[in-house]
């Protein structure tokens, strides 16, 4: 996604959407005025859309009802860390999410390569199967998995939810990787085969090495899904010290519904990692995961 396109300075006169070329001079003034109207419109819309997020941030740094501080304060944040298990929840969330990202990409990349390069009946059948599976409600598999995992001691266990996250991100991740591999010309691999490289060798040395953008998009997708999940967490996690952040925020919110400044401080802790990922890697933020890979394939 090119965030710079619109900000790119134009040397010529500025046109409206589809102003005819011959009326350039006449339109440039009207176009200029239209530009600022549109700027005002989008500014207002963006401001309204972001109200819930701004409210969260402002409240998180506003002194609480019992506080003596004035102006903006970090008191709520430090309170949340000292009075709740926020640090543990953050750690749990980071562990499960990062493991999900690593394993999901490690499973999806080779599978995506086969989906991209193989064109047998079995391969396209598998591609359909992955596609159907990603669209099914998690609630259907959650109940049987709960019984299976209970027998294996994986309920109320971070490994248990990580396995489910890997399973549920893997389908879309495979499609995303396949869509990216489609864009890598096979001639690159052919060159390496001439040099005596095996298929596996060319996959790791040629294809993967050229796939960083695809890997990052897939990783971001898996990160957001695992970080934001609530349904799997609410079913599988029981004890406070095993909670991930969504459970932590939710349970804290239910117990302290009036202590908004602390609730919002915790919410900010949860919101920060995805926003950092988004801010630093935003050009790899693909069109909503599956959407981009579907439109691209």
């Amino acid at each position: 996604m090119s965030a710079v396109v619109h900000a790119h300075p134009q040397s010529g006169p500025v046109l409206g959407v589809a102003g005819p070329a011959k009326n350039k001079r006449v339109l440039s003034e009207a176009g200029d005025r239209g530009r600022w109207w549109r700027f005002t419109a989008i500014l207002i819309i963006t401001a309204i859309v972001l109200v819930p997020i701004m409210v969260t941030v402002v409240l998180a740094f506003t002194p609480g009802p019992t506080s003596t501080a004035t102006g903006l304060t970090f008191e709520n944040l430090s309170n949340v860390f000292s009075k709740t298990l926020a640090a543990t929840w953050l750690q749990n969330s980071l562990i499960t999410t990062l493991s999900t990202v690593l394993v999901s990409v490690a499973v999806a990349a080779p599978a995506g390569y086969v989906l991209s390069r193989g064109r047998s009946k079995a391969v396209s059948g598998y591609s359909l199967l992955l596609f159907v599976m990603q669209s099914l409600p998690i609630i259907t598999s959650v109940v049987p998995l709960f019984i299976l995992f209970a027998a294996m001691g994986l309920v109320d266990n971070l490994l248990g939810i990580t396995i489910i996250y890997v399973g549920s991100t893997m389908t879309v991740a495979t499609w995303m990787m396949a869509a990216y591999f489609d864009s890598i010309p096979i001639s690159l691999e052919e060159a390496s085969w001439i040099d005596g490289c095996s298929v596996f060798g060319s996959f790791t040395k040629v294809v993967l090495r050229n796939s960083l953008p695809g890997i990052l998009s897939t990783a971001i997708f898996a990160f957001l899904l695992a970080w934001n999940d609530y349904l799997v967490a609410i079913v599988f996690l029981r004890s406070n010290e095993i909670f991930t952040l969504p459970m932590g925020v939710q349970s804290f919110f239910q117990q302290n519904a009036t202590d908004w400044t602390s609730v919002m401080a915790l919410a900010v802790v949860m919101m920060l990692p995805p926003i950092i990922v988004f801010a630093t890697l935003n050009k790899y933020f693909s069109v909503g995961g599956i959407g981009g890979s579907l439109a691209g394939r």
Binding site: M1, A3, L15, G16, V17, P20, G31, R38, F39, L43, T46, V49, P52, V55, P110, V114, G118, Y126, L128, L129, M133, S135, P137, I138, T140, S141, V143, P144, I147, L148, I163, I164, T171, I186, E189, W193, I194, S198, V199, F200, S202, W227, N228, Y230, L231, V249, F253, W260, M264, A267, M270, I275, F278, N282, F285, V287, G288, G292, L294, A295
Partner: protein, 318 residues
């Protein structure tokens, strides 16, 4: 020919041609067998996970839906009793109705907002790129966080937005306490969460449209509306179709957006099928009927996704 190493196996696999055929067949088929073996190992971890996390639970869910067990034991076989019980309960149909409304509003609401913003952001606007990034935030911020914020904004009569209404002399709407209003609030929340996805899909489709098409059209005297309906819409039709069906899947499967804002209430006004299935299993401990609900949804979604898959295949061949 020195290039008949792994390449032949791959290009064959790509075209779906059986090994053997032209040239020194013996050597080639051996090599493509090697390619097949590599493919097998590359695919294996994914297959194992798919069977464990998707295949096994789906089969076991079919077992549970036809038994009267609970979370600890399978129970006795009751054939279609659970389905009959579910299909004859008013709660199921009420939830199905809400899910339908929620999905229609979620899909078309977010599409309209996303389309409007994508068209606006496509024009030259100072700092347009920054706005584009900022407007994606509702999609990036965790639902747990945004639902908390929405709660703060609308939950009680003294929250910010009800107070605003009161000060404007519009009464004090109880956004989460009034059944109809709560349903609307949840849908607006869903549109707020989802429009960035639509905006991204449409922006990506619009980016590939050649702007000279518009110049030619306006030289021929086409109005703005004609340009939009005759050029823009047809050109983004494919990605619009894909985004509609995907959003339908997202909406039908949605749990946190609804559950975290209203918990399915008041008086079940915002109970969707997923929320109903979750409550039936984990709050009423009626595993059979709960899984039966999930199973009915699963069947519907299989149909929807196969339709989508075929459409994608068809249009990528064109």
């Amino acid at each position: 020919m020195t290039t008949t190493t792994a390449q032949s196996g791959l290009s064959r696999a790509r075209k779906g041609i059986a090994p053997g055929g032209t040239g020194s067949g013996n050597r080639k088929s051996k090599l493509s067998a090697q390619t097949t073996r590599t493919f097998f190992w590359l695919l294996l971890p994914s297959v194992v996970l798919l069977v464990l996390i998707h295949g096994y639970p789906l089969i076991y869910a079919a077992v549970q839906a036809t038994h009267d067990g609970d979370l600890l034991q399978t129970g006795d076989f009751v054939a279609g009793d659970n389905f009959a019980k579910v299909l004859s309960s008013p709660a199921f149909w009420k939830a199905a109705q809400f899910t339908l409304m929620f999905t229609i509003v979620g899909v078309f609401g977010s599409w309209l907002v996303g389309l409007g913003l994508a068209l606006l952001l496509r024009t030259k606007i100072p700092a347009g790129g920054t706005f584009k990034v900022l407007l994606l935030l509702p999609w990036v911020v965790p639902i747990v966080v945004s639902s908390t914020a929405w709660n703060w904004l609308v939950a009680t009569p003294d929250s910010l937005i009800p107070s605003l209404f009161r000060n404007l002399g519009l009464g004090t709407p109880l956004f989460l306490a009034d059944p109809n209003l709560a349903a609307i609030t949840v849908m607006v929340f869903k549109v707020w969460v989802s429009f960035p996805f639509m905006m991204m899909m449409i922006s990506a489709a619009l980016a590939s449209v050649d702007s000279t098409v518009y110049e030619a059209a306006s030289m021929d005297g086409a109005t703005r509306w004609q340009q939009f309906s005759q050029i823009t819409l047809p050109l983004i039709a494919r990605s619009t179709y894909i985004s509609w069906i995907l959003m339908t899947i997202f909406c039908v499967n949605d749990f946190p957006t609804i559950y975290l804002l209203t918990g399915g209430g008041p008086v079940n006004a915002t109970t969707s099928l997923v929320v109903l299935a979750y409550r039936t299993v984990f709050q009423d401990f009626a595993t059979g009927p709960g899984v039966a609900i999930a199973f009915l949804m699963t069947m519907t979604l299989v149909v929807i996704s196969v339709l989508l898959y075929r459409q994608i295949r068809k249009s990528s061949v064109e």
